[in-house]
Structures are given as C-alpha cells and as structure tokens.
Amino acid sequence: MALLHTVNKSPYQCTSLQSCLQHVRAGDTLLLIEDGVYAVLKGGKAAEALSAANGVKVAALSADLKARGIGAEKMIDGIEVVDYGGFVDLVEQTDKTQAWL
C-alpha cells in the first residue's frame, strides 16, 4: 500500500517533516506543500534529512515554491515539481494520503 504523505509546515519551525521522514516507507511519495516546501533549499539543514530518504519519491508544489521565491537553482536535486493537477495525480496514484499537519 503506497502512501502519499503531505507536509505543510516549515521544517525549521515544526517537527512535521522529521516525523514524516521517520514513518515513510520505500515506494511512498512525499509531497511538500505550503511552508513545507522550504525543506528543498539547497544548503539548508532540512535538505540533508530529505536527501537521506531512500526509495521515496519527493515532490513539491510549484505554486508554493514560486510564492516563496524558490527557483530551480535554489533546490536540491531529485525533487519533482508538480502543479495542482500533478497533486491530484499523486492522490490518484497512491492508495491513501497521510497529512502531517
């Protein structure tokens, strides 16, 4: 059963991402939305933890990246950028969703 995990809080202010990463399993997808997208910043402490998640597809919502001034050059490698339609696709492709509020 593949899960879609969503994280919407800043990894620098909240333990949501940390908890999520402790519970994801290979084959799952992690989608970063709202302030959760700050985890993709290259050189940031949160990105180290994110990079260590093996076998997990990591995606980030483009509207939230753009609103925060996070362009491709600021992001670590391996992040799939999705739009709202892509968000829906991920929900469809996975069996259920776990929102780490």
Partner: protein, 135 residues
Amino acid sequence: MSDVKKFLYVNRKAPHGTIYAWESLEVVLIGAAFEQDVALAFVDDGVFQLVKGWDTGELGVKNFQPSFTALGDYDVQKVYVEREALEERGLTEGDLIEMTYEDEDDDWAEKSSIRIVSREEMAAIMADSDVILSF
C-alpha cells in the same frame, strides 16, 4: 524629542503560511507614522520574508513583498537579519531583496537598510531596545 522610544519588531515566521508577516508589516507602517525609532529584526523563519522573487499569482494571494522595499520611504533604516538563521536555511545575503533608505546626514545618499548580524549581536539589539513587538 525625549519621547522617542526604540521599537524593535521581531519577525520569526515564514511569509505565507500564517498571517504574522503581513500583520507585522501593517504594524510597522502604523508605528513609523508616530516618528519613533524603528528597527526590524528577522530571525528563525522570519528570514524567509526577505527572500526575493515571490510570485504569488498561482496562490491567489497578494504579493506584499514590494511593501518591504517601500519601508525606506517610511524612515525605516535598520533591518537586522540574523546570519545563523540564513546559514541554517542555505541562504545568503544575495538571496534577499534590496532594502534602502536615504541618509539625511549624508546628502540623502541611498544606503542599504539590511544589516546582517550574528546571533550574539541580535541578542544585544533586543536588549538595547525599549519596546519589543513579536510576530
């Protein structure tokens, strides 16, 4: 002008996830109208408020970043940004918007309002202010 107090607005939240950043800006602009000694501090996730290049179109919310750059016109000349907070987040001064003011003591020369300070210096700035407003 003995009534002038040193106001420090401490910003610790990212810009869009909560209303704090926007509310802080509103209060800063109101406070500036009372001719007090105003300074802004950006620590923790507050530094994200100054990261340039916002495009909020797809979110359907107002892009209030231009208001930061207008603060110089309201005589806000001191914007302290904590170096450690930037570094932890993989950011440098080059990632930040430009904020300037015109220095009346130097023939109205345009100068940067942003001052990158260490955590220790930030603590001293907090201790040195008369009033602290937290967002």
